[in-house]
Symmetry: C2
Subunit: 334 residues, 2 copies
């Protein structure tokens, strides 16, 4: 099972390896015609032989010689997180149609792993990087910038002029959530958030506050914080207290908070939505199955993935404009 090289094809087709290289790299125009300076018949013969022999370009060699690799890398904190998994899916899809291969990796939120990952990944001469930065990765990202590798940030922001960005308008998401509940006639609307110091949370809080103020409910607005490691208990306690104070509704700005919210409702014997109404975030079977279904705000994962690749490929191509994209989330209510 010897590997077929460009040389084998050349010999078999009776041409030089240069020609084979030309043909194999030629793009097809809209008519399916080979767009290169090689004689049509020669090209056809080469293609024929290559197919018959089962030739496959050796990426390593191509990459070594050309410096390009037709490879992108994606680093998220955890590819098992459905939000990121779905984004990756669309990234992969979009990259695929431009003939790019994608390497994905999870940083585990650990700077050390992120560091080693970067090392490995850059060994592969990736042409570009898409990252959902975890808190504390600023210095690692700086190292990335130092290599001049085009990089697009998604989901979370980090300072740096050279980055491309595909973000979601979280201020508006928080605002939409609040306005939806206000529209249903609720007044005492509060929010449970995490105290992680991540921009997406503070933005959602900000949007919520803005909407409350705009509706003249500013004095009733209240953001409570749960700790990430002890969501369950924290939410139960927050709800207990909230019931005493006659809170009508909560905004739960992540899926994990929402799930904790429903569990808390169960354990406290509070009825959704009559005793306590919700607007949740992200997607969960629970939102659909519940009777009535739960209003929730969904991030445009598909667009995030697609735009991220688009922006990245533009950066790789050296274009300067259009590096910043802001997307809108969508509310699903009745």
């Amino acid at each position: 099972m010897k590997k077929i090289t460009i040389r084998d094809v050349a010999r078999e087709a009776g041409v030089s390896i240069t020609l084979v290289s030309f043909v194999m790299n030629a793009k097809r125009d809209e008519n399916g015609q080979l767009d290169c300076c090689v004689n049509k018949d020669t090209a056809k013969r080469v293609l024929e032989v290559a197919r018959r022999l089962g030739y496959r370009r050796n990426q390593a060699a191509a990459s070594l010689r050309s410096g390009r690799s037709k490879t992108l890398a994606v680093i998220t904190s955890d590819i098992a997180n459905p939000f990121f998994a779905e984004i990756c899916r669309y990234i992969e899809n979009t990259a695929y149609v431009s003939d790019y291969t994608v390497i994905m990796a999870s940083s585990d939120e650990k700077a050390e792993k992120m560091d080693k990952l970067i090392d490995t990944i850059f060994g592969y001469n990736v042409e570009g990087l898409i990252v959902a930065p975890s808190p504390g990765s600023e210095n690692v990202l700086q190292r990335v910038l130092d290599t001049n590798t085009p990089t697009v940030l998604i989901d979370r922001d980090v300072k740096g002029d050279a980055f491309g960005r595909v973000m979601v308008d979280n201020v508006n998401s928080g605002c939409m959530a609040a306005e939806y509940l206000i529209g249903k006639g609720h007044k005492k609307i509060e929010m449970v958030s995490y105290d992680l110091g991540i921009s997406s949370f503070s933005d959602r809080e900000k949007g919520y506050m803005n909407a409350m103020k705009k509706a003249g409910l500013g004095s009733l607005a209240n953001v409570r914080c749960a700790s990430y490691d002890n969501v369950g208990n924290d939410v139960v306690n927050i709800f207990k207290d909230a019931v005493k104070r006659g809170v009508d509704a909560f905004i739960l700005p992540t899926k994990s908070l929402s799930v904790a919210g429903f569990k808390a409702l169960n354990s406290l014997g509070i009825k959704y939505p009559d005793d306590m109404d919700f607007v949740c975030f992200d997607e969960s079977d629970v939102y659909e199955i519940n009777e009535p279904p739960v209003a929730h705000i969904v991030q445009p994962v598909r667009e995030i993935g697609e735009k991220a690749v688009e922006v990245l490929l533009n950066m790789i191509a050296g274009k300067k404009e259009g590096k910043d994209v802001m997307l809108q989330a969508k509310l699903f209510g009745e």
Copy 2:
């Protein structure tokens, strides 16, 4: 921003490139000592210089020369499917500790895409492949076998002696589900399945039937089929009919069937678990949040991922034994 090569390191350290190559490839033994024939001090100096210059091995060159790539590929039908996403996560983790990089791709269940994927992936000289084969991919997998690339099948089986396999004992899963319901005193226990001709389904059905027969309930056993594209309606109709016939409980052998099951319950006004009991499969927030929580059977995703890599690395190393692994699912009930 010139790239630092092995040559730069050699010059700076005053040694030959050969030596640098030796040092950079040396593994560290348990004492953190370099395990190679190079002089300790020289090695230390080289390492020092490499770090100072920010040297990173050029994978493309290494791979071209050595034929090895330290890269594995994973192909599932859809990496956004949480089941696969989680497996991928563990694959990545496990590969990582053995210094392997992972390329992941989704076949979309389309043979054509799978085909192009294989082409691309093999261009990268991957050393091994982990695949969750979609129905109809037998011929593509045959092409893979032809290249002599070690390949491990997960989740679904396909004929072929050369494959490694990491499977879950679905017969036993079906059996466990049935026995759990029998243990709760139910008699009229039925199952809703898909008619996709995939081994995991037929195995779960088989296990269910076995358990029913063993309990003397063989005559009550009944497997109904829903179509994949119209689950919602099909399940509603199946449940309507089941209620008439006094069915106590259903086994729902996938998450999508389970979700459809709960929706159907809602729309028909049937109460879980008093009117109708369930054993579901996979993981969902619904199972946890529901009051009482829903018994469900979870596949050992972590072990699947870890074992798959382990088996694959063994195959790459040329070991012949231990290519087949059978794992057990676990039931979460009260």
